[in-house]
Every structure is written in structure tokens, then in C-alpha cells.
């Protein structure tokens, strides 16, 4: 195997800009790695070798320079890429080639980052295991019989398997952080509105947040800086300077957290987590105390209602957003034999094109928004969202960041949580509150439990993304990184 694929994005970037390495060489090494391991990992739904090599040649020709110029990247298949198939892992979009790029994809291209391909995910980003992909699951490089997390399991597995040094994910309830945790990689959910949603196929518009995935905290911060910032094409984009996450990650590496107060959420301390996850979490807290951090227990009494509130709000928004898949403007059309009405064709198309989890959520959301149930379900969930936001605000009056395990359990075997959908939802128990609040959060590898990676989550106030990068980099410097077995 080529050693180039083992290098960090930061090192690759330095070696490409000093001409020690060419961008074509680096891109080719990753394409070769993809060809060598994809039959076992299945992280990609589409590989765009030609497009990636074209972009690399432009960097080598000196047309584009910049902090990540020539560093290849994988993009989750829920993000539109002009002329390159984009399916959101759904049959309803099979073969669709978007006529435009998402803003974040434009930014990757302007930064000279070759896009290797599109990564697998749960259909329309609904799931925690990639088992709901219409094109087959992705396998966790740590143990090919286990899930890589979801929905962005393809992005996380691609970087864990050294198929790409960096990847783009999207996080609606934990879809960047939970895959990061179970694959031993870093995943960050920026402040909502800090990264553009333009060109992101909408799942739950008030929660969806694109973000960076990497193998190190610094690499993740470098990608964050490239993709973030105001976009006039997204009406909820925040028009403020992006926090300096790269400087914060570099500051954190010095391993000094004197004066930093970490809040441990009392309500997340015990129930529901595997013992191995809790052990790694506690050892990480001890490591952070040695770096000078102070631990404060804080109470967020409404966090226990975050999961129920989320599974009303997100499906409600999804039921509306997914109405666009009607067999008229793009994607699949089924049953149009000349005898059926538009409504019949729509119903047959959606029945054939959507998988079971997407259907469940559309039906659930339609129910929660129905007259007679709206106040008790959707309306009440929005009020709970206010209370969760207040819990965060009062916690951040006492501490700088909140910390918890990222997910209650390590990578589980395929099939173990698909028969009872609610068991799958529990994977997002600790990640969901942040989405309802809108703040940033990051998962960083912190240990192993029975040979499988455990993630440590750091949650920060809105637009204080830099804070979580500093603590994450400090923790990384203390506990080191975790390398999966050879494939």
C-alpha cells in the first residue's frame, strides 16, 4: 500500500505546495487505494477518477494554490455535484446528475481539492448505520461485520480505510459525529448556519448542517475553514466571520487547558451507555484534568426529551421536504402507462423509490403535523426545543464547553437494530440535543472498548466552534490516534 494515503491532510498540503509531491500523485494513490479496498469497505456510491485527476492537474499547473490545494476529498452523496451522480442513497434519484454544484462543493473546487467521489449513507440521511442505503451498507474498516455509523458511514469509513484523507458529511441528529465515533475518526458539526445548505438535499431544514470529517483534529479544522462562511443563497446562513478553528486546533495541540471549564452533563452520565464507552469517557476526563481543565457537573434537565422532540421535528420537516420527489422534475417515475392519473403515478413512484425508513418517517411526520395532533406533537416538540436551548444557555454560563460520550455504544453488528427502529434511534441520544440548540459539536477518538473505537463529544456555544477544536486537539495530543487493523 502506498504510504501517501497514510499522511495527514496537513502534511500532504505542505508537501504539495513545496512541490515535494504532485497533486496527481496524491490523487492517484488514493484512487488506487479505493480500487484495492472498495470490495470490502463499500464506502463509495460513485468514484469520479477523471474529475479528481483533472482538478489535481490544475493544481500541479499552478492554477490554484491554497491551504488544501491538491488534497483529495470524498463527498457525501446527499450533496449535489454538477454532472456527477447524486442519489442520497435512494432509488428515487438513481442516475440523477445535478445541473449545479452545492456551495460547499464550489468552495472545495475553488480551493483546488480533487473530489474522489460520492460516499454511501443511509437513504436521505435517515439512519445510524448505512443499513438503510438503497445500494447496500458500508462496512466498518475496524470490523467488516459491523456498522460504520450513519447516516454518513461512507464518509467516515472512507477516511478510516485511508481511501481519502478528508470527507464532507452532514449532521441533522449526529450523522457526522456518530460515524466518526464508531470508526475512530474525527467529525465536526459546525454551528447551524455556519456552513451553507445550498445544494444539500434537504432532510430537516432547521437542523441540517454540513461539516468536515478527518483523521486528525487539525485536518478537520482545515476543511472546516474551507467550507464554512456566509452564503447569500442560503437564507439561514449566518453573516458573521467564521471562528478561527485552525488556530484553535493548533493551540490545543500544545496540551494546555488551564482555566478551561468542562461541563459533564449529569443526565448523560450513566444510563444507556455501554460500560466500555463509559470507561473510555472517564479516562479521557482524567487526561483532560491533567492538562489543566476543570470538570464541573452541570444539569440539563430537558435533554432527556431531546430524542422524542427530535423524532417529531425531523420527520415533520422531512415529510414536507420529501414531497418534492413526485416523479415530475427529476428522478424516478413508475407506473406511467397512459392509463393512470398523476396522483396514482406519484404514489407508485414514491412507493417504489423510497425505502422503509424513509416511508416510516414520512408517515410519522404527516401524523405529527395533522390537524388534531399538531399541538400535542409538533407544537409541543418545538416548545421542548426552546427548553433544551435554555438548558444549553444556562450551562454555558457555568462552563466553556459540555462533554459526553458521542454515542452510547460502539459499532454494532449488522442487523442487530433494524427490526426495532427505536433501538436504532438511540444511537443519537447524546448528539441530538446540539442539533435542536444549533450549536457546534465535535467527536474525537478517545479510546477503544473491546477493540472498537469510542468517541468523545465536545459541545460549544453557537459561533464558538473554535472552543471545541481547542479541547479536541488537546485530548488528541493526550490520548493519541487509533489505527484500524490492516484490511
Amino acid at each position: 500500500m502506498s504510504d501517501l494515503t497514510r499522511l495527514s491532510a496537513a502534511s500532504l498540503s505542505k508537501m504539495i505546495s513545496s512541490r515535494e509531491l504532485s497533486a496527481v500523485e496524491v490523487t492517484t494513490a488514493h484512487l488506487d487505494r479505493i480500487a484495492a479496498v472498495e470490495d470490502r469497505v463499500h464506502a463509495f456510491l460513485h468514484v469520479d477518477a477523471e474529475g479528481a485527476l483533472d482538478a489535481a492537474r490544475r493544481v500541479d499547473a499552478g492554477e490554484i494554490t491554497g491551504p488544501l490545494a491538491g488534497v483529495p476529498i470524498a463527498v457525501k452523496d446527499v450533496v449535489t455535484t454538477k454532472g456527477v451522480p447524486t442519489t442520497a442513497a435512494s432509488k428515487i434519484l438513481e442516475g440523477w446528475k445535478p445541473p449545479y454544484d452545492a456551495t460547499i462543493v464550489e468552495r472545495l473546487k475553488q480551493a483546488g481539492m480533487p473530489i474522489l467521489g460520492k460516499t454511501n449513507m443511509d437513504e436521505f440521511a435517515m439512519g445510524s448505520s448505512t443499513e438503510y442505503s438503497a445500494y447496500g451498507a458500508t462496512n466498518n474498516p475496524w470490523d467488516l461485520g459491523r456498522i460504520p455509523g450513519g447516516s454518513g458511514g461512507g464518509s467516515a469509513a472512507a477516511i478510516a480505510a485511508y481511501e481519502a484523507p478528508l470527507a464532507i458529511g452532514t449532521d441533522t441528529g449526529g450523522s457526522i459525529r456518530q460515524p466518526g465515533a464508531v470508526t475512530g475518526t474525527v467529525g465536526a458539526k459546525p454551528t447551524y448556519g455556519g456552513t451553507s445548505r445550498y445544494g444539500l438535499i434537504a432532510f430537516s431544514s432547521s437542523l441540517d448542517t454540513p461539516g468536515p470529517c478527518g483523521r486528525t483534529v487539525e485536518d478537520t479544522a482545515l476543511l472546516h475553514a474551507v467550507m464554512a462562511g456566509h452564503d447569500p443563497r442560503d437564507s439561514t446562513s449566518i453573516n458573521q466571520p467564521v471562528p478561527d478553528v485552525v488556530a484553535a486546533a493548533r493551540l490545543g495541540k500544545n496540551g494546555d487547558l488551564s482555566g478551561v471549564k468542562l461541563g459533564v452533563v449529569k443526565e448523560f452520565a450513566g444510563d444507556g451507555s455501554e460500560p466500555g464507552v463509559l470507561n473510555s469517557f472517564k479516562e479521557s476526563l482524567e487526561a483532560l484534568v491533567k492538562l489543566g481543565a476543570e470538570i464541573v457537573e452541570v444539569s440539563c434537565p430537558h435533554f432527556e426529551y431531546a430524542l422524542p422532540a427530535y423524532y417529531l421535528i425531523a420527520p415533520s420537516e422531512a415529510s414536507s421536504n420529501l414531497a418534492r420527489f413526485d416523479g415530475v422534475r427529476y428522478g424516478l417515475r413508475t407506473g406511467d402507462d397512459g392509463s393512470r392519473s398523476l396522483e396514482e403515478v406519484m404514489s407508485l413512484t414514491r412507493e417504489a423509490g423510497f425505502g422503509p425508513e424513509v416511508k416510516r418517517r414520512i408517515i410519522l411526520g404527516t401524523y405529527a403535523l395533522s390537524s388534531g395532533y399538531y399541538d400535542a406533537y409538533y407544537g409541543q416538540a418545538q416548545k421542548v426545543r426552546t427548553l433544551i436551548t435554555r438548558d444549553f444557555q444556562s450551562a454555558f454560563e457555568q462552563v466553556d464547553v459540555l462533554v459526553s460520550p458521542t454515542t452510547p455504544f460502539v459499532a454494532f453488528p449488522f442487523g442487530s437494530r433494524t427490526s426495532d427502529p427505536y433501538q436504532m434511534y438511540l444511537a443519537d441520544l447524546f448528539t441530538i440535543p446540539t442539533n435542536l440548540y444549533g450549536g457546534p459539536a465535535i467527536s474525537v477518538p478517545c479510546g477503544l472498548s473491546e477493540g472498537l473505537p469510542v468517541g468523545f463529544q465536545i459541545m460549544a456555544p453557537t459561533m464558538a466552534d473554535d472552543r471545541m477544536y481547542r479541547v479536541a486537539a488537546a485530548l488528541e495530543s493526550a490520548v493519541g490516534s487509533f489505527t484500524p487493523p490492516e484490511l
Binding site: P98, P99, Y100, Y192, G193, S206, P232, S235, T236, I238, Y305, P308, Y311, L312, A323, D326, V328, R329, Y330, L332, R333, D336, R340, S341, L342, E344, M346, S347, L348, R350, E351, P356, K359, R360, I362, I363, L364, T366, Y367, S370, A376, Y377, G379, Q380, Q382, K383, V384, R385, T386, L387, T389, D420, P421, Y422, Y425, L436, Y437, G438, G439, T462
Partner: protein, 99 residues
């Protein structure tokens, strides 16, 4: 008592334009019942006087300058259509024949 009946699921599927099968109805009704009983816990929170949050960003109306900008061409906009005719999306009949 079940939070949701098989008949209600069938009605919601129709509203959602999903031509679900009988087997799916059986399966979804049971699963949605478990999910609904779990999410109904939001009702335990006393929140009468609490304002709802629809969105975490404190923005109201966001305007752009009223200036035309380039957009997709007609060909680009139709490029993904399952069926198109003379520059338009072509759809199955909307009115019943007796209408």
C-alpha cells in the same frame, strides 16, 4: 392501547402519496405505534407558557438585492426530468376522463 391504528396508517400513507402494500401496513402500524409511544413523552414537559422554537438562528426576513442573476437554462432544468415535451415537464393526466 395502540397510539395509532392500521387504518390511520393507511390514511396517512394515502395523504403522503405512498402506495404502501398490505404487508407494509402491518409492519409500519406496529413500528409506528412503538415510536409514537416513545415520542409522546414530550407531553410530560410542562410548557404552556414556553414559546416554540422553529429555528436556532435569530433571523426574520432575509432579503437579497432585487437584481437578476444567471440561472439554469431550460435544458439544464429539464435535464433530470423523467419526461419532457417541447421545453416543459410532461406529466400524466391530471383530470379524470369524466371530468
Amino acid at each position: 392501547m395502540a397510539a395509532i391504528s392500521r387504518e390511520e396508517v393507511a390514511h396517512l400513507a394515502r395523504l403522503s402519496r405512498l402506495a404502501v402494500t398490505e404487508q407494509e401496513l402491518d409492519r409500519f402500524a406496529g413500528q409506528l405505534d412503538v415510536i409514537l409511544q416513545s415520542v409522546a413523552r414530550v407531553g410530560e414537559v410542562a410548557a404552556e407558557d414556553i414559546p416554540p422554537t422553529s429555528h436556532s438562528v435569530p433571523l426574520t426576513n432575509v432579503y437579497r438585492d432585487d437584481v437578476p442573476t444567471p440561472s439554469l437554462t431550460q435544458d439544464e432544468a429539464l435535464s433530470g426530468a423523467p419526461d419532457a415535451f417541447e421545453g416543459r415537464f410532461r406529466v400524466p393526466r391530471i383530470l379524470d376522463e369524466e371530468d
